[in-house]
């Protein structure tokens, strides 16, 4: 081998190609010079260069590429579980949405309406009497400021039990008067009606009751009682307010006794 690294017998071989032809063939543009040699050089490229190497773990750490990992097969049980959970979740969301809408509309049965009213959705069922009044007291204590329609509520003892203040405190006010133990009978009803109607109730004066007790037919103990009732001023105000208090109870009280 010479200093240039040329084998001894290479100098004896014929030089069939000049430098330009050799460069053209090696560059892939020498088909017109020698088609077979050009094709063979193309096969050489295709045979050896076609597939890039897979990246090993050490090299992957250097170039920031993740080493190839076979994708994890998802088991059928996982797919079924995911599907069932999705369906249950969708059904629950639909029930909540439907119940909420009915509650706001007040179209739920009374017990359900009362229950959801605890959650601040919709108003409680009307006409449930003392039960509703009780709700008013309890709600006054439990309400958070985010609840709507509940304001200061006067308890049966007349004490302010809630610090939550709303402009729309009509229901609470009516409930408070309805539970006022100092009022009775017609006066109670008129007071409730007055509060419920916002002072618009123009009830007449309470009825006068005349009781005549007479002993008739000479029979001892026999009495005749005549009662005259004036139905004016029975508190015809709108007790069914739109507040979230216990207006139902107030309305029943407004009927007088």
């Amino acid at each position: 081998m010479s200093a240039d690294g040329v084998h001894g017998n290479e100098m004896d071989e014929p030089h069939d190609f000049d430098d330009a032809a050799a460069d053209a063939l090696i560059g892939g543009a020498g088909a017109d010079i020698d088609r077979r040699v050009a094709e063979t050089l193309g096969e050489m490229r295709a045979a050896y260069v076609s597939t890039p190497p897979a990246v090993g773990a050490t090299l992957a750490a250097l170039i920031g590429a993740a080493p190839p990992v076979a994708p994890r097969a998802v088991r059928r049980s996982e797919r079924v579980r995911s599907s069932v959970l999705a369906k249950v979740g969708a059904a629950a969301a639909a029930v909540v949405a439907a119940t909420g809408g009915l509650a706001v509309a007040g179209a739920l049965p009374a017990p359900v309406q009362d229950a959801v009213s605890h959650l601040g959705v919709g108003s409680p069922a009307h006409g449930s009497g003392d039960k509703d009044v009780k709700h008013g007291d309890t709600n006054g204590d439990d309400r958070t400021p985010t609840s709507h329609g509940k304001g200061s509520t006067t308890s049966a003892a007349g004490s302010e039990t809630s610090t939550t203040t709303h402009k729309d405190n009509h229901g609470g006010d009516v409930s408070g008067v309805a539970h006022d133990p100092t009022l009775e009978g017609c006066a109670h009803g008129q007071a409730v009606a007055a509060v419920a109607s916002g002072g618009k109730s123009q009830g007449k004066s309470c009825p006068t009751t005349t009781t005549t007790v007479a002993s008739g037919n000479g029979q001892p103990g026999a009495t005749t009682t005549t009662t005259t009732v004036d139905h004016g001023g029975h508190g015809q105000g709108n007790g069914s307010n739109n507040g979230k208090g216990n207006s139902g109870g107030a309305q029943s009280h407004g009927k007088g006794h």
Binding site: E10, V49, P53
Partner: protein, 185 residues
């Protein structure tokens, strides 16, 4: 191969700054050629050795000075030396590969694999008629896509010597092809 010199220079700058994206770009630009060159050199594990070449190059990148073109020469010098070391190791010991350890090629197209194998064999036979230096020059010029200057740098030969080797190598190849015509393929 098809990577422009400018993009190789940018990737090299990124890699020098420690940006993994630069290493990744360098690997993508030259990985197939390095593995192909090692495959043509007949090393035992071309992909594994190609990984070693890049790991070695990237870990010593701070010692390299030059642009993207010089980087290719430097990288193939490492690959060339790795192939020589591999040949030496194989001469020293006989490697036994068990049947179970044979690479799994399941899933490939049998006809395509067979055709590729035949083409590979034919190219290998043609290359075998060349002298080692002629073969080395043609592999670096054709498979690694190095210029005459880069090839000369890798082999430690002069520019004119490489020119002469590629001319004679192509002439030998043509003679081998001419004699091949009388043999059914």
């Amino acid at each position: 191969m098809s990577t422009s010199r400018g993009s190789l220079d940018r990737a090299l700058d990124q890699a020098r700054a420690g940006d993994p994206r630069g290493f990744d770009a360098l690997f993508r630009a030259t990985g197939a050629a390095v593995a192909g060159y090692l495959r043509a050199r007949g090393v035992r594990d071309p992909e594994g050795l190609a990984n070693d070449v890049f790991v070695r190059a990237f870990r010593t990148l701070d010692t390299f000075e030059g642009d993207g073109e010089r980087f290719r020469s430097w990288l193939f010098t490492i690959a060339h030396n790795a192939a020589i070391d591999d040949a030496r190791r194989r001469r020293r010991r006989v490697v036994e590969v068990s049947f179970e350890a044979a690479p799994d090629r399941a899933g490939g197209d049998v006809e395509v694999d067979a055709a590729a194998h035949l083409a590979h064999e034919r190219v290998a036979v043609l290359l075998s008629v060349l002298s080692p230096d002629q073969r080395e020059v043609l592999l670096l010029r054709v498979v690694a896509d190095l210029s005459v200057e880069e090839t000369a740098a890798v082999l430690g030969k002069g520019y004119e010597a490489v020119k002469a080797l590629q001319r004679r190598g192509l002439a030998s190849l043509r003679r081998a092809l001419s004699s091949e015509e009388g043999v059914p393929q």
